[in-house]
Every structure is written in structure tokens, then in C-alpha cells.
Amino acid sequence: MNEAINYLITGAANGFIYSMIAIGFILIFKCSKIFNFAQAEMTILGAYIMFAITIQLKLSFIFGILITIGIIIILALTIERVLLRPLIGQPILSIIILTLGLGGFIKGCIILIWGTKMLSLPPLFPKGGVHLGKIATLSYPHIFFFLVCSSLILLLGIYYHYSRGGLAMRVTADDTIVARLLGIKVTRVLAMAWVIASLVGAAGGILLTTVTGIHYTAVEVGFKSMAVALVGGLESLAGVIVIGPFLGIVETLVAGYLDPLVGGGLSEVASFFVLLIVLIFRPHGIFGWKTIERI
């Protein structure tokens, strides 16, 4: 029983990170109908930059965060402007393969600069955790995951629903032409969406890799977040926030109870199983909108 509760907590904490990264996908998708497969590589790139600054250059942690944010913002803006803006309205296939290629490029750069060894960030959080009576232990990293992710998600929600920029984003998501008529600079909104998406992606990557270590194969975090976005539905921000912890919990439960039976590895594909089943029965995701197509 105790371990079940521990699994729930760990899963939910990891799931919140998935939700946070998935929100990035959805923001970009809503505004420009572009789905960024390179997001998976952007998440670990953030962790690698953080590693370069805090370990290789031996700067302080605060510096690390500031510089990482700066580099990620510049990268996001460049990618958006140079690569993806010309592709708006192009066939979805081109966009998918272009972002896959971009992901490969980032991966190649990572291998070129940092090699293929497993690296690790300095431990941000103290070991151990808070004991909740005799039932469960909340380890500090997980508490921190909860805090950071929920506050970031909350901030994003406030931005999206109450600020002028968020309003512009919602209009653009609804109808690009109307947004233009109302005097909104759609290109600026898109750039903003890319910056936000890349930043939350990088934040998620850094958080997760403090626990797991940095390796270029960690892109699967990004893929799982995409699964979260698709299961939740690409139109619904709230759906993603619910689905993320759900998939995270499924993953840890499978890792805890089923993996020993099959010899491991099932937890890695659990969220993909869920995704396939959801896509067959509800193609637009659980909370997504059903789109009606016409000729």
C-alpha cells in the first residue's frame, strides 16, 4: 500500500513536467497549426546549456538559469523566424519532417559539443524528503517538481486568460485573419508562443535531468509530453494539465507492478499504448474538439 502511494506521488510529479512541456506544444499548435517535433530536443538542450554554464564554466546557479533562459529565447526566435515561418500553410508532412530534421540537427550539435557520455547536473535539492506519517515519503525533488510546475502552469494560465498578450494569443488561435484585422501583430504572437514553449520545455528538461542525469537519449521525455498533448487534445490547455499526471501515474504504476513480470521496459511504452488506444477511439483526444472537414 505504501509503495502504491509513493508510485502515485512520483508519477504525478513527473506527469506535471509532461503537462508543462505539453502546454508548449499546444500554444504553438493553436497559434500556427505547427507541431514542433524538435521540442523533444529543445528540452534536453536546456539541460545541456545549464550543464555547460554551471559545471563547465563554473558560474553560479542563478547565472546559469538567466543565461540558459537568454540562449533559449534567442534560439527559439531564430528557429521560428528562419525555419518555420516560411512553412506556415505548407503541407503538414513538410512541417513534420522539417521539425524532425531540426531535432536531428540539435541532437547532432549536442553530440558534437558534449559527446555521448552521461552527464549530471549538480544536485539542486537536498536528499531525503518529508515523511507523511507512516504512509508515504515526499522526496524533495518531487516537492520541487510540483511547486515549479504548478506555479509555471498557473503563471501561463494567468498570462493566457487575463493579459493583453494572452488575449492576442487567443484571438490568433481562433482566427488568424480576424486577428490581423483587429491590429494584432500575428508574427509577434507566434514568436511569443515559441519563446514560451521553448522555455517551459527547457525548464522541464532541466528539472527532470537533475534526477535522471543528462543524456542525449533523454529526448523521450519530449515524446511522452507529445503523447500527453495528443491524448489530452490539442485544443485544450486544461485537458493537458489533467492528462499529464494521469499518464505519469500510469507510467510509474506499470513500472512498479507490470515491469517485473515482463522483464522491464513496458513503462517506457505505457503512455504510447494509452495514446494509440485513445487515438483509435477518440481521434481528437479526450478533451479536444472534433473537427468537421469539408471538401
Binding site: F35, L83, P86, L87, Q90, I92, L93, S94, I96, I97, L98, L100, G101, L102, G103, G104, F105, K107, G108, C109, I111, L112, G115, T116, F223, M226, A227, L230, V262, G263, G265, L266, E268, V269, F272, F273, L275, L276, L279, I280, P283, E293, R294, I295
Partner: protein, 346 residues
């Protein structure tokens, strides 16, 4: 395709001929002959390159049917290939003759393609891309857990009609025959009823449906045939390496195959050839260059070797999508056209 003026098709047979004029026959036969005597002309290292190109060609031809003709993006093609390779290796171990294993490997991949192509009935575009990506991970999980993938499978050289396929030269000819056959079949599929239906589904599936095309049937058919090709390709690869290993079927391989289609030109059989030769040639080139680069910057040697092909490949893909989205096949048509019209511009 345009031909020189004064050449009229007077029968249906001429109209649908793949190779129509004597000039085309000459080119075709010269090409076949050249490929047949190729092993005499090149070193062993390049023979290895051509064998790999042949295997990849089969896989890419299949993917071209799914993605290029039917418009259903598949990121799971490496895994389907692995399915064919592993099932083939298992059956070869059981002592079945190679000739019987080829359809088994193809069917195994084809059926797994049918299963994981099922989401294609409900979703398309981005959702399908992601569900095939999920399929990749799930199939690889199945291969690792149920077929002993982590250790791999040793395969003995197969015997065809009393000839043991144990040297690179013999494998080259085996693959040569397979690729010729595969190209012929693919060419015939795409100019027949199925191919026209694929193209209609790709261009607008709802419109195709209103025209009476059963889009569910044709989408699944495309997945089945395409994955059949992948399975056969996977089997040949296993035979060539003598070893079935999950290392050869990464997601990144699947992206390479998609890239080859893009570079070659989607929805053309000749594009599969162009793309495969171009991308594999680049890879070979960067493998040849990497030691020199490594020598110049000795500190980077190991990492450059690993990263250079990925970097080159992804740059090429991005460039092609931005500047030449129709691929090399389109450029090839333009070049042929300008030769036909020479010395005029149009």
C-alpha cells in the same frame, strides 16, 4: 512524362507502357548491365555501400507507397523493417528455406503494419505521424521482449536453389534481383487501380471517398504493401549482416527513410532511387571525411565521427524542404525537359 514530338500512342498497350521507346530501352538495359557488372568495377568497400543502398531501396520503395503515394506519414518504418528481420531470422533458424522465409518476413511486417495502420482510419497528418511513432516504440518493445532482441539473432547464410549466399558478391546479386523485382512491382502498383486510388486519397481523402473510393481499404492496403517491402528489406539486411540486432532499427533510421523520400521526390518511384543514393552517398562521404576531420581537430575525433552524418543529413533535409520541396525527381524532369527542347528554352 513528355516524349519527343511525332511519337504517337496508337494502342492502349503503348499508352501504359513503362518503357516506351527504343532509346528508353537502351538506357534501361545499359543501366541493368552496368549494375550487373558493377562488382567487377569497384572495391569491396563500395560493394558494401551498394548492398546497403539496395536494402534501403526496398524499404524506401515501400515507404514511398505509404507516404509518397497514399499520403499517410509513417514514422514506424524502421520498426516494421525490424519486425520482418527478426521474424525472418527466427524462421531461418527453424530451418525453413530462404524462398519460403521471404514471404513470411514480408507478411509479418505487413500484418504489423495493418495493426498499427489502424489509427490511420481515424486520424491523419500529425496525429498519424505521432501514432506511428508510438507504434515504433511498441514494436521495438515487442521485439526486445518477445523475440530476444537485446541479444540479437545469429543467422546462417541461406541457401537458394543449392547456392549458399555466403559472400558479399552473391548477396549483391540476390539484392539486385530483389530490388529489380520490387521496383517492377511498385511501378505496376502505382500505375494500376490501387495506385490511382492512393493518389486520390493523398490529394484529398474526403473527395476520394465521395468518388466511391473505399479510403479505409486503400489506406490499409498501402500500409500492408509498404510494410511488406520493409519486411523483405529487413530480412535481406539480417542475411547480409548475418545478425539481427535492434541497433539497426532506431527511430532515427525511420526519419532517414522519410528524408530519402523527401529528397528524392515524393510520389515517384524514381525519386526513391534518387533519394536513397543521394542520402546514402552523403553518409558514405561523411564517413570517409570524418577521419580527416578528426585528424585535423584531434580533440574532436570521436564525437565528430558520431555527429557528422546526423548533422549533414538534417541540414540536407531542412534545405530540401525549404528550397526544393518537390525533390530531385522534379529537378530530373526539368533537366530532361531542357535536353528535349535544346536549343530552345521552351
Amino acid at each position: 512524362m513528355r516524349r519527343r514530338h511525332g511519337l504517337f500512342n496508337v494502342s492502349y498497350k503503348q499508352e501504359i507502357a513503362i518503357i516506351r521507346t527504343r532509346f528508353e530501352w537502351t538506357i534501361f538495359l545499359t543501366f541493368l548491365l552496368l549494375m550487373a557488372i558493377l562488382p567487377e568495377l569497384i572495391s569491396l568497400g563500395w560493394l558494401d555501400f551498394f548492398i546497403k543502398v539496395g536494402i534501403t531501396l526496398l524499404v524506401v520503395l515501400g515507404l514511398n507507397l505509404i507516404t509518397g503515394y497514399c499520403g499517410q506519414i509513417s514514422l514506424g518504418h524502421a520498426a516494421f523493417m525490424g519486425m520482418g528481420g527478426f521474424i525472418g531470422a527466427i524462421f531461418l533458424d527453424l530451418g525453413l528455406p530462404f524462398i519460403a522465409v521471404v514471404p513470411i518476413a514480408g507478411l509479418a511486417a505487413g500484418i504489423s503494419g495493418l495493426i498499427f495502420g489502424l489509427p490511420a482510419l481515424r486520424v491523419k497528418g500529425l496525429y498519424l505521424a505521432f501514432s506511428t511513432l508510438a507504434a515504433h516504440y511498441i514494436i521495438m518493445f515487442v521485439i526486445v521482449r518477445l523475440m530476444g532482441g537485446t541479444h540479437g539473432h545469429l543467422v546462417n547464410p541461406p541457401v537458394i536453389f543449392g547456392i549458399t549466399i555466403d559472400s558479399d558478391l552473391r548477396i549483391y546479386y540476390l539484392i539486385f534481383v530483389m530490388v529489380t523485382l520490387g521496383t517492377f512491382v511498385a511501378k505496376n502498383i502505382v500505375r494500376g487501380k490501387a495506385g490511382r486510388a492512393f493518389i486520390a486519397v493523398r490529394d484529398h481523402d474526403i473527395a476520394a471517398n465521395t468518388l466511391g473510393i473505399n479510403i479505409y481499404y486503400y489506406k490499409l492496403l498501402a500500409f500492408f504493401i509498404g510494410c511488406f517491402y520493409a519486411g523483405v528489406g529487413g530480412l535481406l539486411q539480417v542475411v547480409y549482416f548475418g545478425w539481427a540486432s535492434v541497433e539497426n532499427y532506431t527511430l532515427w533510421n525511420a526519419i532517414w527513410y522519410l528524408g530519402m523520400i523527401i529528397v528524392g521526390g515524393m510520389g515517384t518511384v524514381v525519386g526513391a532511387f534518387f533519394g536513397t543514393f543521394f542520402i546514402m552517398g552523403l553518409e558514405q562521404l561523411s564517413c570517409l571525411l570524418a577521419p580527416t576531420v578528426g585528424k585535423t581537430f584531434s580533440a574532436l575525433a570521436g564525437t565528430v565521427l558520431g555527429a557528422l552524418p546526423i548533422l549533414v543529413f538534417s541540414l540536407v533535409i531542412m534545405m530540401f524542404i525549404m528550397f526544393e520541396p518537390k525533390g530531385l525527381a522534379y529537378r530530373w524532369e526539368i533537366i530532361k525537359e531542357s535536353f528535349r527542347l535544346f536549343p530552345f528554352n521552351y
